[in-house]
Structure formats: structure tokens, C-alpha cells
């Protein structure tokens, strides 16, 4: 086995993993707060990416468009929770799944209708000849990992060190007690949706340059994102991004050395099922200790 080729596979696996990591964390955030799996997370990210695309097309500089897109995505996430998902808060899980799938189809169709399904080139903010490019990773790929890590660090710092972050964690764990200390639980859920939507937007904008922009570009990313969230532990925000990077590397190694690119998704999912058989709460799924 050629060491250089192996290293290349691992590093480009980490690049893909950075997309899965953001998406997985977004899924976990919504799951923890509502115990629902947001099947529309990928399409929401794709929608955000088209917002960025439009802004850049009309001449807004990349990073300004990036920040504006995060703001729009946040607002869209909050609006979806307040106006759509809230009505299905107490619906059966099956109803919720149908609503999510409806949202997925709606966003996909809407974007296809406005922009057509023709793939578009999406720019990278990283100069292709920048010094941090190597034979293993292009500057954009290095940038993808860096941006993802920075965003993840900000999200974790927010949850760990701010009062609002603490209130969101409390609302997710025990809504009744949260109301009794004065937390407006409804708003915390909406905020969670907003943040999840922002995470998706980051993944989408980073992915779009690599995958080319088209309405179905997130369909495989979201599948790997699910896998990553389950592998890391669906209720563990720390596990999800780690799961994302692990799945990314696993996928590439499997594709290059074991089963070829056609079956790599299947193999990655197979390994995950195997892990879950032995550790049902995921690799890092914490079991909360409870005494009564």
C-alpha cells in the first residue's frame, strides 16, 4: 500500500468529514430539543447556499455574502419552527416525518423552479495558489476544514459559556422545569432551529464549490450526516462532529481499498450498523446517570 496515497485518502476524507460534521451537529441539535429527526436539513442547507449564490451573483463580496447568508438562514430556521413545526409539536412521530419530507420536497422543488436543476459553479473564497495548499489538499479543502472547526468551536463555546446557551440546553432536557425558572421554552426551540440552519448553511457553502451547486447536491451529504450523528451518538453534541470526520475517512478508505466507489456508502453504513449493534447509544453516546 502506497503511504502517500493512503495519506491522501485520509486527508480528503477529513475534508468530506467536515461537511458531515456540521450537518450531523445540526441534526443532533434539533433532535435533542424536539426528539425529531430533521430530514429536511440537507435541503435547508442547499437553499441557504442558493441564497449565497444569488448574493454573490449580484456582486456582494464572498465573505459579506457568507455572513448575510448565515443571517438569512437563521431567520428561515426560526420561521420554519415558529410557523410550521410548532403546529406538529405533539403530533405522532410518523406525522412529523411526513412534514419533514414535505418540507424537503418543497424546498427542492422551489429552488429547482427558481434556478433550474442545471449545476452551477460556486466560488471559493480561498485563492487556489495560496501557500497553505499542498499536494494532498487544495487551499479550498484546507479552508473547508478550518471554517468548519472555527464554526464548531463557536457553537460549543456558545452552549458551554453563555447564559442563553445554558437555557437552550436546559429547555432541551426538561421543558417543564425550564418554564419554572422562567425560560421561554418555545423561543429556545426556535433558536435551536435557527442555529441548526446556520450550521447547515456553512456546510452547504463549503460543499458547493467542491460538489458544484445544484438542488440535489446535499442528498448524499445528509445521508452521511445521519450516519455520523448515529455513530457519534444522536444525543451527544460532541460525538456528532467526531462521527462526521470518522465517517468521512471511513468512506474514502472503503472506496479506495475495499469495495470501490459504487459501494462505499453501503460499506460505511454497514460499519455504522455494526458499531450500533454493540454500542446502541453510539461511540460517544453518554448514558445519563440517574438516581431517584
Amino acid at each position: 500500500m502506497n503511504m502517500q496515497a493512503l495519506l491522501h485518502q485520509i486527508l480528503s476524507g477529513l475534508v468530506n468529514g467536515s461537511m458531515y460534521a456540521s450537518v450531523a451537529l445540526a441534526l443532533v441539535m434539533i433532535f435533542k430539543a424536539t426528539h425529531q429527526v430533521n430530514f429536511a436539513q440537507g435541503e435547508l442547507a442547499m437553499f441557504s447556499t442558493y441564497v449565497a449564490f444569488t448574493l454573490i451573483e449580484v456582486g456582494v463580496p464572498y465573505w459579506a455574502a457568507f455572513v448575510l447568508t448565515l443571517g438569512v438562514s437563521f431567520a428561515v430556521g426560526v420561521a420554519i419552527e415558529r410557523f410550521i413545526m410548532r403546529r406538529f409539536r405533539n403530533a405522532s412521530p410518523l406525522t412529523a416525518v411526513i412534514v419533514f419530507i414535505g418540507l424537503l420536497v418543497l424546498l427542492n422543488g422551489l429552488v429547482g423552479w427558481i434556478y433550474t436543476y442545471t449545476p452551477q459553479k460556486f466560488p471559493s473564497p480561498f485563492d487556489p495558489s495560496a501557500w497553505y495548499g499542498t499536494i494532498y489538499m487544495s487551499p479550498h479543502e484546507v479552508g473547508m476544514i478550518a471554517v468548519t472547526l472555527v464554526v464548531l468551536a463557536i457553537v460549543f463555546a456558545f452552549f458551554r459559556f453563555t447564559k442563553l446557551g445554558l437555557a437552550m440546553r436546559a429547555a432541551a432536557e426538561n421543558p417543564q422545569s425550564s418554564r419554572l425558572v422562567g425560560i421561554r421554552v418555545d423561543w429556545m426551540l426556535a433558536l435551536g432551529w435557527g442555529l441548526a440552519s446556520v450550521l447547515g448553511a456553512v456546510a452547504g457553502m463549503m460543499a458547493a464549490h467542491k460538489l458544484t451547486l445544484e438542488p440535489n447536491m446535499m442528498s448524499s451529504v445528509i445521508l452521511y450526516g445521519f450516519a455520523a450523528a448515529l455513530l457519534g451518538g444522536i444525543d451527544n453534541p460532541w460525538g456528532a462532529p467526531i462521527g462526521g470526520f470518522v465517517v468521512g475517512v471511513l468512506e474514502n478508505i472503503a472506496g479506495a481499498y475495499l469495495v470501490g466507489t459504487q459501494l462505499k456508502l453501503a460499506l460505511a453504513l454497514f460499519v455504522i450498523i455494526a458499531v450500533l449493534l454493540f454500542r446502541p447509544s453510539g461511540l460517544f453516546g453518554r448514558t445519563v446517570v440517574v438516581r431517584v
Binding site: L166, E173, S177, R179, R286, V288, V292
Partner: protein, 237 residues
């Protein structure tokens, strides 16, 4: 003395099931009141009705003179009511410190950290457990944490749902003693729901007795404790 909490003709129901009928009750400012009664008499429902938690309420509920019935729970709490629900309402996966800080969630002043040491004065063991996950505390420790959380909120009125539930008698005595101190020192009014009538009667000044959703007796605790029928029904004498 003025009333901090006043219920007038309160009916409460879960769906079609009527639980309270015409309950009238009063807690004086700085007072300590027990709501006694058998299982299923509607004690917990009374507390839930006050904070508008999942019950349909008719009638009049006033806090410090102001109507609060019909308002959302978060808004009622904001006015200065602390409520320790059945099961203590601990945030199990969060640390002890995070639980305490959540108690002070509504406060905007800078005294929160200073208040932590005030609370440790009542419950020294919490200081040693500050970074421990709250779910690993014993039942008694979780009850203390719940009271500490209410102290952090600097509420004017504390509603307590069966603090003695599932605890060893010696621990219950200790918790009741601390409640007495808190009531005196912090001028925090307390409405206590209890099954353990004997202990509660020693602690509080005023008692309301619930039976199948109605107040059947009320008065100073000595008077209630001396009542022949009450002794037979609730004190096993």
C-alpha cells in the same frame, strides 16, 4: 397582614376530569402555609393551577394583589414565584452549578455569584458537588438542590410539592428545619404540599385541608392539629 397569594373559587380540570372545585386559599406575606390531604385530593393540582401548568383553570388567582390566572407559566414565575414541582425538577444531565445558575435565570443583577455562597450557607454539601452531574446526587441532595435553585431566584413565594417524598425521616427533618430558617431569614413566603401531616403541622403557621378537590378545613396549625376528626383521618390517632 396582606396576602401574597390568594385563590378564590378556583376550579381546575385535566381535560374533562374535574379535580378542584371552588378552592379558596390564602398565603400571608412572609407566611408559611401547608396544604394537606390524602393522595388524589388535588394538592399537586392546586400548585399546578397557580403556575398554569397543563391544567384548565377557572376562578381567581392573585399574586401580590395582581391577577395571574391565565398567564403563561414563564410570566407567572417572572413575577416572583418559585415552584419546586413533583419529582424536584432537577436538570439531571447538567452540573450542580448549572442548575443553580438556571435558578437565577431571570435575574439581571450582578449579585448571582455572591448568592451562590449565600446558598452554600444553607447547603454546604452543594459546594463540594458543584461540578458534579446533578443526576448523580441522591434524592435528598436533589431536594436540597431544588430548594437552593429557588433561593437563587430570590422569589417572594415558594411553592413546594412534597419535599419529603421518598426521603429518610432524618433527612426530612433537616430539610424542614432549613425551610423554617429560610422562611424567617429570607422573608420568603412558603406554600407547602405534604402527605406527611405530622411534620408539616409542626413547621407551618397555617393549614388548609383538601378532600376530593375541596377545602374542608383551614386555620392555624395548632387548631387543626387539635381537631379530633383531623387527628383520626390524617395523623392516625
Amino acid at each position: 397582614m396582606t396576602a401574597i397569594l390568594e385563590l378564590r373559587g378556583v376550579d381546575a380540570a385535566y381535560g374533562a376530569t374535574e379535580v378542584l372545585r371552588g378552592v379558596a386559599l390564602e398565603v400571608a406575606e412572609g407566611g408559611m402555609v401547608a396544604l394537606l390531604g390524602a393522595n388524589g385530593a388535588g394538592k399537586t393540582t392546586t400548585l399546578r393551577a397557580i403556575c398554569n401548568m397543563g391544567v384548565r383553570v377557572r376562578g381567581e388567582i392573585r399574586f401580590a394583589g395582581q391577577r395571574i390566572d391565565g398567564q403563561p407559566t414563564e410570566a407567572i414565575v417572572r413575577l416572583g414565584i418559585g415552584h419546586i414541582p413533583e419529582g424536584r425538577g432537577t436538570f439531571l444531565s447538567l452540573s450542580v452549578e448549572e442548575n443553580l445558575r438556571l435558578g437565577a435565570y431571570l435575574r439581571r443583577d450582578r449579585g448571582v455569584s455572591a448568592d451562590l455562597s449565600r446558598v452554600f450557607g444553607y447547603f454546604p454539601m452543594l459546594r463540594d458537588r458543584l461540578h458534579q452531574q446533578a443526576g448523580t446526587l441522591s434524592g435528598g441532595e436533589q431536594q436540597m438542590l431544588a430548594i437552593a435553585r429557588a433561593l437563587m431566584s430570590r422569589s417572594r413565594l415558594l411553592l413546594l410539592d412534597e419535599p419529603s417524598f421518598g426521603l429518610a425521616p432524618i433527612l426530612v427533618q433537616e430539610i424542614f428545619r432549613i425551610l423554617g430558617v429560610i422562611n424567617r431569614e429570607e422573608r420568603m413566603s412558603i406554600l407547602l404540599v405534604e402527605q406527611n401531616a405530622r411534620l408539616a403541622l409542626d413547621l407551618v403557621g397555617q393549614v388548609f385541608l383538601l378532600e376530593t378537590g375541596r377545602v374542608v378545613a383551614s386555620g392555624p396549625s395548632q387548631q387543626i392539629a387539635a381537631d379530633e376528626s383531623v387527628r383520626r383521618a390524617y395523623l392516625g390517632q
